[in-house]
């Protein structure tokens, strides 16, 4: 604080920024935002508050309707991302901007490709990626295809991409939404190191702990306006959530003990070796019963994604069986799987979860468009459809002008709410929830967690995967830990577990006996 000279050094000033989108949404209204050199600055606010919008303008992806952007004391028009990149600004977007069919390395060097004659020098690309991954301590597999890597790794590829381009001002839009605690720790260590070297970081997150841990200052947004700038050390978590939401938020979900009954999902000896000969699933067996939430804990990339994929036939295992209420789901078309009452909240909402150019209404009926209630003879029963979508938008507090609004124009968290609303409301008997609260603000997270508990208590089986260990520990009735494609531990009761103990299992330092693990199969 003492260093007067530095304190006045704003490297970025955004003054009185207004942004009205083409559909008439005023996403930013008179927002002032500034960055000091070498700080980590948090940008916080509820879903749809306008955080991503503000940052997209700083990255040249969107143009402010009015207002001024000053960079290094110079008034600047950022007409496109390439202008912003030239000014040393890099952005990691809330939604991945990777080319799925290309390799990790090719994605990292995209737009600055090393050439060998006329051809892309793939080896060089891999080399660059490897070096930078090492330098910044972001572990990725340069040769794998982006389509095949888990979201956590995709996130790291995105961060690498920005760093490789020489960004000195780094905008991270919810980088930790899909990272596990360990990965987040690693990232924080890295960010702190970057900060020491004079890099400036904007950090968007809905996780208050993280904000308190790593940031220097906080700008809080609400309803498209700035609620002020604060020194992080001067405000408590409660202050922050009150400023964001306007009320106190309790994130502790109350739940009574589960009374599990019949087995719904039965998984036996699933095995899968991926294209790179890595064993992703190794004799995975477990049961999920009616009325219980079974959580899967584990560091990303230890088989969770593959497991969920198999259960929804987005991939086919090499061996093993999985049944829902006695009927096999392996290799069955999704239409059949849905008929059995299986719902899936997918880890990447943009890929499977939504049709971006369709309306909210059209997105919430996608799994039930043939249902009797929504049809009148050969035509849709528009009245019933309007009613359903209005109800869901209201229940799940989707911030939008009307259900006729395009889903792609919603904020990230609100898109997630649309997906969750659909998957929770189709009368399922089994919910596969993969990162259900990804990118959702504290208020809505509270709601979704409550809803999940409520659904399970009403007799639905829930399989929960989340990178957020606290979420898994809190919501799950019982819990399995995956490491290297294997189940290494099963805890019947999550109440007594400590984070440290979990950590040891997750990192593979400890393992239960096969007998202990076998208890998760309830035959």
């Amino acid at each position: 604080m003492g260093d007067e000279a530095n304190r006045e050094e704003y490297i970025v000033q955004m003054k009185k920024i207004d942004k009205v989108y083409s559909n008439g949404v005023a996403a930013n209204q008179g927002v002032d935002f500034n960055l000091k050199k070498g700080e980590i600055h948090a940008l916080m606010g509820e879903n749809g508050a306008g955080k991503s919008t503000l940052m997209k303008m700083l990255f040249g992806m969107e143009q402010p309707t009015s207002g001024e952007i000053v960079i290094n004391g110079e008034s600047t028009v950022l007409s496109s991302p390439s202008v912003a990149i030239a000014k040393g600004i890099g952005m990691v977007h809330q939604h991945f901007m990777l080319v799925p069919s290309l390799s990790v390395a090719e994605n990292v060097v995209l737009g600055m490709v090393p050439k060998k004659g006329l051809f892309i020098d793939k080896e060089k690309a891999v080399e660059i990626t490897r070096q930078n991954a090492e330098k910044y301590n972001l572990h990725v597999e340069p040769e794998m295809r982006v389509a095949d890597i888990p979201v956590g790794m995709k996130q790291k590829v995105e961060i690498l991409k920005a760093l490789v381009r020489g960004a000195r001002i780094l905008i991270l839009d919810e980088p930790t939404a899909v990272l596990t605690a360990q990965e987040t720790e690693e990232l924080f260590r890295e960010l702190t190191a970057l900060k020491k070297e004079g890099y400036t970081v904007v950090f968007i997150s809905h996780k208050l702990n993280e904000i308190k841990e790593i940031t220097d200052r906080i700008t809080i947004m609400r309803n498209g306006r700035s609620m002020g700038v604060y020194e992080t050390k001067d405000v408590s978590k409660e202050d922050i959530s009150r400023l964001m939401v306007g009320r106190d938020v309790i994130l502790n979900v109350q739940k009574d003990a589960a009374k599990p009954t019949d087995v719904v999902l039965k998984v036996r000896n699933l095995e899968y070796v991926n294209e790179w000969n890595k064993k992703m699933l190794d004799k995975v067996s477990f049961d999920v019963r009616k009325g219980e939430i079974l959580g899967i804990a584990g560091v990303e990339g230890n088989g969770q994604k593959e497991l969920i994929d198999m259960l929804f036939n987005l991939n086919v295992p090499d061996a093993g069986e999985a049944t829902v209420n006695g009927k096999s789901v392996i290799g069955k078309p999704q239409a059949k799987i849905r008929e059995m009452g299986v719902s899936l909240v997918p880890e990447d909402r943009m890929l499977y979860g939504i049709a971006a150019q369709a309306s909210i209404e059209e997105n919430v009926i996608s799994d039930r468009c043939a249902k009797k209630e929504l049809n009148k003879g050969p035509l849709f029963h528009m009245g019933a459809i309007h009613k359903l979508s209005e109800q869901l938008v209201k229940d799940y507090t989707v911030l939008c002008k009307s259900p006729a609004q395009q889903v792609g124009m919603l904020s990230g968290g609100n898109i997630q709410k649309v997906v969750v609303a659909r998957e929770f409301s189709n009368d399922p008997s089994l919910i596969l929830a993969d990162q259900p609260t990804r990118g959702i603000d504290v208020g809505a997270t509270e709601f979704i967690r409550k809803k999940l508990v409520e659904l399970s208590r009403s007799g639905i089986a829930v399989l929960l995967v989340s990178a957020d260990l606290a979420e898994v520990m809190e919501l799950s009735d019982s819990l399995i830990v995956m490491h290297n494609g294997r189940i290494v531990a099963y805890f019947q009761d999550t109440g007594t577990l400590s984070d440290e103990e979990m950590g040891e299992y997750m990192l593979g330092l400890k393992e239960q006996t096969p007998e202990e693990i076998r208890r998760v199969c309830h035959d």
Binding site: Y10, G24, D32, V229, D239, S366, D367, A370, L374
Partner: protein
């Protein structure tokens, strides 16, 4: 944006697009006009433009300008086949299937209908219906080729359907020359259609004195309405559109993606084929097409202009038919070369389809509306409008100070 502003914007945009295109067209016509002096060229250009703009509906002569129902009827008549191909392309493109088979499809439909019309005697009324249905069905079945190849083997439907057009054309030409040729005639054609199969002309209406315009236009209008409901109010159309937007999403949602993709192309084929039958029976005494008629390509233009929405197909078809007629008039009465006409059409199309054209003006309207909404909300909230702030005022002050010094 309010509804009113939206409408104003659409009108202004449309008018301006046409205006600019016309100016370009005028320039081109002027450059290529006959005449030695500037004045002569100018008057030639003016004459050509008059024919292009008002010629499609009015007779222009020394006495002045007179409305002519026959010309309007001609425009409507020209719209019949293109409405059907337009609808056909809409359905296929909406599912993100770039099937270009409407061109061969309409020819195949016309030919199959013709065969039924010639060789299968049936009572009046029923006969025409049977012809049309057979034309549609045959084409629908043929579209299974690109559709199934796409779904089962992931063969590009675009390449496949494009090739299919020529295969269809040559097979039909071969059949016309051999098995079904009317050898008593000097040109290559089939035997005449039985009278029972003909779609009657719409001459009852007094202003339409054109014999070219048949009841087909009424069938076309009904089909447009039906397709509008199908695409936007039925679960099938809905699935087609969702698959077009995000196929993975559709699959994950439990839709039968392969089936719907096949359905969209078969239906597209049916529409093109039925259109061919209607065109044939309403307009010609016998089948004499010896080349692809071009309606399928026009259908693609129409579908793009209509944004794959069946409800806008008639508008787009009218626009293109009017333009076509105007260009005909220009070629006939004003001596403008046909190549130039193709250029003029292209220019007009370009401005119409350019999405970002006038987007700045649109944005200003949007901003205006949003500001009004915000102001209205503020007024409702009691004029003040300052949102509550809490806590940590100390640090905030220091930040504000910093900001001031900077300014």
């Amino acid at each position: 944006m309010t509804k009113k502003r939206q409408l104003i914007f659409s009108l202004v945009r449309g008018a301006l697009a046409i205006l600019i295109a016309l100016l370009v067209a005028m320039l081109l016509i002027f450059i290529s006009a006959d005449g030695n002096s500037f004045g002569q060229r100018l008057s030639a250009t003016a004459e050509a433009m008059k024919q292009l703009l008002v010629g499609p509906l009015f007779r222009i002569n020394a006495q002045g300008i007179k409305f002519e129902g026959k010309r309007l009827a001609d425009i409507f008549a020209a719209m019949i086949p293109t409405i059907f191909t337009g609808l056909s392309v809409c359905v296929m493109f909406a599912a993100n299937q770039f099937n270009l088979g409407a061109e061969g499809g309409i020819m195949l439909g016309a030919f199959s209908s013709a065969l039924v019309a010639i060789y299968v005697p049936l009572p009046k009324g029923l006969h025409a219906l049977a012809c049309i249905l057979v034309g549609g069905a045959v084409t629908g079945v043929v579209m299974l080729i690109p559709a199934l190849l796409k779904v089962k083997l992931n063969v590009s439907e675009m390449v496949c359907s494009l090739m299919l057009n020529y295969i269809i054309m040559y097979i039909i030409k071969y059949l016309m020359n051999t098995a079904y040729a009317d050898k008593s005639k000097g040109q290559i054609q089939t035997y005449p259609f039985l009278n029972s199969s003909k779609i009657p002309a719409l001459t009852q209406a007094s202003i339409f004195t054109s014999s070219k315009l048949s009841w087909g236009i009424v069938i076309a209008a009904l089909t447009v309405a039906a397709m509008g409901f199908f695409m936007y109010r039925s679960r099938w159309g809905y699935q087609i559109r969702m698959i077009g937007i995000n196929q993975d999403f559709a699959k994950y949602s439990g839709m039968k993606v392969g089936f719907v993709i096949v359905l969209s192309q078969v239906l597209g084929g049916f529409l093109a084929g039925a259109g061919g039958g209607i065109e044939m029976l309403g307009r010609y005494p016998t089948f004499g097409w010896s080349a692809l008629p071009g309606y399928g390509w026009t259908g693609i233009t129409i579908a793009i202009l209509a944004g794959n929405n069946p409800c806008f197909v008639p508008l787009a078809a009218f626009f293109l038919a009017y333009l076509g007629k105007g260009c005909d008039m220009m070629a006939t009465y004003a001596n403008v070369p046909t190549q130039l006409i193709a250029i003029v059409q292209g220019v007009i199309f370009l401005f119409f389809a350019a999405e970002r054209f006038l987007s700045k003006y649109r944005q200003s309207l949007v901003v205006k509306t949003a500001n009004e909404e915000i102001a209205a909300k503020m007024a409702l909230a009691g004029g003040g409008g300052s949102l509550p702030q809490a806590g940590a005022s100390g640090s905030q002050d220091s930040v504000k100070e910093g900001g001031k010094k900077d300014e």
